[in-house]
């Protein structure tokens, strides 16, 4: 594995930050985790990071936890995966406990509603930015674009299960790339 060595504590801190500052669940965390692991600390290259993300999606479970577990175990063994998972669940857990015990009407405050409304716009922007980066880097042949577009529409508009789209479109990309090279 390329990149710099990381210890468990650093992984814990990274995932603590990621889970404390991202609203909107698993996908919203991907650009934030990427920023730390790839751009800032250069622990993994972008392709290696995307391999981790892909692997995390191929099995059931909480995506953020799966990602933390794979990254942790690759970078710092069992202790690393434990540290990363603890980091990714600790602050959401504590925040929910505080809200559940003291602010049961949390969602009714206008300030909270406004923050949520705005933050989701921010999450859309950082996800759109990540998508553009990935397309620019990975889509080297034009025939890949319609495949990606079809997959996107199938999931977002027709509500098909993402795991099947992931597998199906990978098979298509795999053989299309082979055929393309043979020409």
């Amino acid at each position: 594995m390329a990149g710099v060595a990381v210890n468990s504590f650093k992984l814990f801190k990274i995932f603590l930050k990621v889970s404390t500052f991202t609203i909107g669940g698993g996908y919203a965390m991907i650009p934030v985790i990427k920023e730390f692991i790839v751009d800032k600390y250069k622990i993994l290259k972008e392709e290696e990071f995307m391999d981790v993300i892909v692997t995390a999606q191929t099995v059931p479970g909480v995506i953020a936890v799966n990602t933390a577990m794979i990254l942790g175990s690759r970078l710092a063994g069992f202790r690393g995966s434990l540290a990363a998972v603890m980091g990714s669940i600790l602050s959401p857990f504590l925040i929910i406990l505080v809200i559940a015990s003291y602010f049961a009407d949390f969602a009714d405050y206008p300030a909270v509603q406004g923050f949520f409304m705005g933050a989701r716009v921010g999450v859309t922007v950082i996800l759109a930015n990540l998508s553009l980066q990935l397309i620019r880097k990975n889509v080297t042949k034009y025939f890949l674009l319609p495949i990606i577009a079809a997959g996107t529409i199938a999931i977002a508009i027709f509500n098909l299960s993402s795991i099947w789209i992931l597998l199906l479109s990978s098979v298509v990309v795999f053989f299309a790339s082979k055929g393309y090279r043979r020409k």
Partner: protein, 176 residues
């Protein structure tokens, strides 16, 4: 109750493909339909809060529902329940990949998967985008945020916090 909660969330974690939003229907099934621990209305208000607070939605709702039903012990057992299946699945997939790489060149498979996962991320972008960018204010905020992200390259955390604060100010001073 604590063991029942653990078991219900263990099943959810074990079967939830595609992350939080995929898990929501499983959670609803276990909590509202099968075990009848909450009414649909109570459930939806807990889910609304789970989506509005930081962190993975499945973790948030496990913690919240566990606490509501059985206090701190319930929240701990639900959270462990939803996380634990990942240990099994991740162990399995990593072993499997390891085994596969001895027989075939997995790099080409990963090349294909890396292309396809872009569709998943784009779909998530589209879903959140359609729900959240629906007014003049949100369109404007999105454009400004996108410009700032490209012009100054701040941490994406600042983009989420900044747009959140903008939303708070808008809600308090303008729209109400």
């Amino acid at each position: 109750m604590i063991i029942e909660l653990f078991w219900a969330f263990f099943k959810i974690g074990f079967l939830a493909f595609g992350g939080g939003y995929g898990a929501l229907s499983l959670i609803q099934d276990q909590i509202v339909n099968v075990n009848k621990w909450l009414s649909l209305e109570e459930f939806l208000s807990l889910i609304a809060i789970s989506q509005m607070t930081p962190g993975p939605i499945a973790i948030n709702s496990a913690t919240f529902i566990g606490y509501r039903l059985s206090g701190v012990a319930g929240s701990i057992s639900s959270t462990i329940g939803v996380v634990l299946p990942s240990v099994f699945w991740i162990f399995l997939i990593l072993k499997l990949l390891n085994l596969l790489s001895r027989w075939i060149d997995t790099s080409e498979v990963f090349n294909a998967l890396r292309i396809s996962v872009i569709a998943l991320i784009l779909a998530a972008t589209l879903r959140i985008g359609i729900q959240s960018i629906n007014s003049l204010f949100t369109v404007f905020t999105a454009l400004v945020a996108f410009y700032l992200l490209h012009r100054f390259r701040p941490s994406v955390i600042w983009i989420v916090l900044g747009t959140g604060i903008a939303g708070t100010l808008w809600k308090i001073f303008v729209s109400t």
